[in-house]
Symmetry: C2
Subunit: 307 residues, 2 copies
């Protein structure tokens, strides 16, 4: 039996948050259901940021009505603050991802808070979780700009570890380590993820990489080497952060699945089904930056899945 | 002191062998001199294939006249057979790369010989080397399709190791392990290169990767992990084999240098100088497939070379 690696599809959240056009809710639902049909077992479905800030997510409540259809899939929502967490819970989400930035400048730009203030908000979300008597709430916490920041430049890895420790001990169920702007390299990934795996102490650690500077898949392979088994990926490599200048595409779901299956891991992903979905997404969204080597070159003759 | 990794620029050989237009000899010379000025210490300058087969290399003798200007740079030439090796020596090259294919179908398609016949030709080139009394001749031998083949599909790694052993013991000075069609993955790279490093027994081992399916840099990082310290790269990611259907770009020189410098290695490469050269190459060559994340996204704010 091949060892499993989980891909969390973030195309419907990170992938479209900077898209030029609003993607119709029906298309979003179709996208999510076809991700489910393609064998992925996790999806970040939407974001509870204020619709005034990112109109793309103004249909978050509407989308949540489709959660029952997504049986067998862990569907999560991103939240920028306590209010977002309350909205997500009210809409029916059981899995919530709260993101804070290690870079003070990115934190200010993204949520107009210092990192310290964002940690205080995290504690309020943990309290919200504690108050959910008998209701499930799984809390993932993202550490944005963990590998550097286009605004601030250098981000101190000691500060990343310090915040990771605070978050893990403070009640996060999962740690999401994010290279928001594609500054990370394989050596840095190993150096940072090794201690974070220890800090996580059995909690899930998820890597969220962007391929802005071409090192996305090299960084995945490096993270796999130090034991990471969950990755955020985006169909067609869509994505980018509106508050991090120069941030472009997430790592590509199809290519990541191809690499990991080729390496002998099982992702459960039906790559041809993703390529067909991608074709439709390109029609729906129109002019965006779509990436991906498999979509261009095709799978090798020798390719076999382990799923 | 940072550990050194050597990049061999193969843009003037692999990079342009499928180009639609003939690149003027003056531009080729300019390219080579600017590679030298950008700090690269090795270049594959041309190929001694019959000009009827690849007209792009009909100026190989003319180019060789510029070897004295390339002082400080190891300039090599590709040869497909004994006759090519004789021509390269006569033209003044001291470093010769002979390529044979592990895949029988690619071997037939590329040079109309079986792999066994290509090994016999290798022996004749070794005899030529032995006859060069007092003259330097360094012989690199490339093992094409070592990770699979678009014509044949599966390539047996045991056969790769068998040929590597024959070649190393038979008189090759350097082993060039090539993923001609971009089928390799990081796990496969480690599994194959580890025994090849042993077989090489101190001879230089060079990895020649193509980024056809997006895993080029992940494969470089994997090869670095098992001790490989020399890589073939191509400016702007140009490249592809005319006799391997679907083969596209070599790994990109600028991006590879960026990754390795970020990881703490020293390549000696001046990346901005390469980006300026690339700009001119695009003007000279016109409509080709140019790749590269650094050319698009720029270097990180935090980037520092170790050179």
């Amino acid at each position: 039996m091949a060892e499993q690696i989980t891909l969390r599809e973030v195309g419907l959240r990170d992938g479209i948050q900077m898209a030029k056009s609003f993607l119709a809710t029906d298309h979003k639902v179709d996208w999510a259901l076809r991700i489910q049909a393609a064998g992925l077992r996790e999806i970040e479905l939407t974001s509870f940021v204020p619709p005034k800030i990112v109109p793309q997510f103004s249909d978050a409540d509407e989308l949540a009505k489709n959660l029952p259809q997504l049986n067998g899939v862990v569907a999560s929502a991103l939240v920028p603050n306590l209010k977002g967490a309350e909205r997500a819970l009210a809409a029916g989400f059981t899995h919530i991802n709260y993101v804070l930035s290690i870079s003070e400048l990115h934190s200010q730009s993204n949520v107009r808070r210092s990192t310290g203030e964002a940690i205080e908000e995290f504690k309020r979300i943990v309290a919200l979780k504690a108050s959910q008597a008998g209701r499930q709430m799984v809390l993932g916490v993202g550490l944005a700009t963990s590998f550097g920041c286009t605004l601030q430049g250098f981000v101190d890895p000691e500060r990343v570890l310090e915040v990771a420790r605070l978050i893990a001990e403070g009640g996060a169920d999962e740690l999401i380590v994010a290279d928001t702007v594609g500054y990370g390299n394989p050596a840095q990934v190993k150096a940072l993820l090794q201690p974070i795996m220890e800090i996580a102490a059995g909690r899930r650690v998820i890597c969220h990489f962007h391929d802005t500077r071409g090192l996305g898949l090299a960084n995945v392979a490096a993270a796999v080497d130090v034991g990471v088994r969950v990755f955020d990926t985006s169909l067609a490599g869509l994505g980018g952060c509106p508050f991090a200048p120069g941030a472009t595409g997430n790592i590509n779901t199809e290519d990541t699945a191809f690499m990991l299956e080729s390496m002998g891991f099982s992702t459960g992903v039906d790559i041809p089904a993703l390529l067909a979905l991608r074709h439709d997404v390109e029609k729906w969204l129109g002019d965006e930056r779509y990436t991906g080597a498999i979509a261009r070159a095709g799978l090798p003759k020798t390719f076999k899945t382990n799923s």
